[in-house]
């Protein structure tokens, strides 16, 4: 029996004659019938799925470090030095005030950004300044003078957002980020924005008006380029990874303390030492979150905990000291993996138990 006829039949494109042949084949043996039922079942149930992603990344792609241990889907490296005697990773101080993305306008008005509302944003002078679309806001126009009004956008845990500034610069904002920016850039001077959290910038070229990201005590100055900045309040560092073009990172209070970055380099500002260091990195790794992926590369579990908390808006309490010392490598597609999926995956490497109570996950040793 040519399988083509079955598929033609299932997609309603077979002729009556072909169908007759098919049914005769089905009747010929119990085995044939079972085969047909099995195929039709698959066909009917494949309508179960939706949102098939158009890119080629599989759901969870884990690259084993050690080729000899292929069965080990999640590779881990023990690093005993990193225990730090810290058993509970409890970040209860994280801001949990709002579950929605909040936009604060120059005059103090606040708006919630939801998935469905599409509307125009008007400033206090009644001028159209931006259009809200699902998942992003697009600003346009230039100020007529040097008076600059700042808006601010707060992205809560569990959400991400995209913003197009009035100069055409595109900013992707990661979960748990606050970003302050002018609703329209002034005619003269620099384009200055403020970041707490993580953002990926694609800065529109404009040599006359340097673009400056203020993050913590560091500032990053650029002319037109693509780069990622990570400056979460719970980490004492600011990282900036350059994809293309060139950027300069300097201490906000002391402009002479500066480094110039080349593509594929990362600059790190240390709060404590007030030093800026650079190293070569793979920029894709640091911008993976803009594509909805979490990537880990020999990443300590404590860092993974922070990332999961931000991404899924959960709280994780780890009481398992073995796990606290582990490092992991792998890629996770956020839209298709739940926190449970990730924990189950980690469990295969380092056995542990966990309980979920509302949005708090407690990880314990195996009893």
């Amino acid at each position: 029996m040519a399988s083509e006829i079955i598929y033609k039949y299932l997609s309603n494109e077979a002729s009556e004659k072909e169908i007759q042949t098919l049914f005769e084949w089905i009747d010929a043996s119990e085995e044939n019938k079972k085969q047909f039922i099995s195929i039709k079942k698959t066909w009917a149930l494949s309508a179960l799925t939706e949102n098939i992603s158009t890119n080629t990344t599989p759901v969870i792609k884990i690259k084993p470090k050690n080729k000899a241990a292929k069965y080990l889907k999640y590779a881990a490296v023990f690093l005993t030095l990193l225990g730090l005697g810290r058993i509970a990773f409890n970040f209860s101080q994280k801001t949990k005030s709002s579950k929605e993305i909040v936009l604060e306008l120059g005059d103090g008005r606040t708006e919630f950004i939801t998935k469905t509302n599409q509307s125009n944003l008007v400033n206090d002078k009644g001028e159209l300044i931006a259009r809200k679309l699902p998942g992003q806001i697009v600003y346009f126009g230039k100020a007529k003078d040097d008076e600059v009004i700042y808006n601010s956008l707060k992205v809560p845990y569990g959400k991400t957002f995209k913003l197009t500034l009035s100069d055409g610069t595109v900013v992707s904002l990661n979960s748990g980020t606050t970003f302050r920016y002018p609703e329209q850039f002034g005619i003269n001077g620099k384009r200055t924005v403020f970041l707490t959290g993580e953002a990926f910038f694609e800065v529109a070229k404009d040599k006359e008006h340097p673009f400056i990201v203020n993050a913590n005590q560091a500032a990053i100055e650029v002319l037109g380029t693509k780069f990622n900045v990570s400056a979460y309040p719970e980490t004492p560092t600011v990282n900036s990874v350059l994809v293309e073009g060139s950027i300069q990172m300097y201490e906000a209070e002391n402009i002479s303390n500066a480094v110039l970055l080349k593509p594929n380099q990362m600059a790190t500002w240390q709060n404590n030492s007030k030093k800026i260091t650079t190293k070569s990195v793979d920029p894709d790794f640091y911008s993976a979150w803009t594509k909805g992926e979490l990537t880990f590369k020999d990443t300590p579990f404590s860092t993974i905990v922070k990332i999961i908390q931000r991404t899924y808006d959960v709280e994780i309490i780890n009481e398992n000291s073995d796990l606290a010392r582990q490092h992991f490598t792998g890629t996770i597609k956020i839209s298709e993996s739940s926190v449970e999926n990730i924990l189950e995956l980690l469990k295969r490497d380092t056995p542990f138990e966990y309980t979920i109570k509302q949005s708090t996950i407690t990880i314990t040793n195996i009893q």
């Binding site: 399988s3 049914f23 698959t42 759901v59 298709e336």
Partner: protein, 199 residues
């Protein structure tokens, strides 16, 4: 965007409390799927949509009896399955073929297919995950054809024109896609019989 578990369980809680927005969320998520499922057995888009509507009305009325998030899918499919069976048994399916024997035979087969599916919550979730994964793993061209065919309900000829390939190539991609999916899904207990394509 995010099929975030904590978000969905919150939505489920508000659904239980009778919040209409939460109901709308699940309606948007599952309506097309339930309709597509129904079409496979009653061969009529309007009827299948009616059936899906009914399933959701019943879901809303019975929301107190649904005790988990996965229970929603399970309820909807189980309802659709029994409605399809009733539909066939009461001879409401329109005759497709001139030869009445074929009409009769088709209904008989569909009843057997429906009876072989169990919409256990765990199975559904797991199956959905496997199907998603398997489709994502298809070779790019094959996946494109498969998605156009199964999720956008396009005809082979339309797909051929859109992708600028021959009709034969489209058919070949579909055969290949189903063959791969079949093999992958067969690993799952749900489907026991491995179909060998070129027998």
């Amino acid at each position: 965007m995010n099929s975030n578990t904590s978000f969905e369980s919150e939505t489920f809680e508000s659904f239980k409390k009778g919040k209409e927005a939460a109901f709308t969320y699940f309606y948007d998520k599952y309506f097309c799927r339930i309709t597509s499922f129904g079409i496979q057995f009653i061969y009529d888009k309007d009827e299948a949509e009616n059936l899906a509507q009914e399933a959701f009305i019943n879901l809303w009325q019975n929301r107190e009896n649904i005790d988990s998030l996965n229970g929603i899918q399970s309820f909807l499919y189980t309802y659709a399955k029994s409605k399809c069976l009733n539909f066939i048994r009461h001879n409401k399916v329109k005759d497709k073929f001139k030869n009445d024997l074929l009409n009769h035979k088709e209904r008989e087969l569909d009843i057997e297919v429906l009876n072989s599916i169990q919409f256990d919550t765990l199975e559904l979730t797991e199956l959905e995950r496997i199907i998603n994964e398997s489709i994502n793993d298809l070779p790019p061209k094959t996946r494109e054809v498969f998605i156009k065919k199964r999720f956008e309900n396009k005809k082979n000829a339309e797909i051929a024109a859109e992708m600028q390939v021959t009709l034969k190539a489209v058919e070949a991609h579909m055969t290949k896609a189903l063959k791969i999916l079949k093999t992958k899904l067969s690993d799952y207990l749900f489907l026991i019989f491995i179909f060998i394509c070129n027998n």
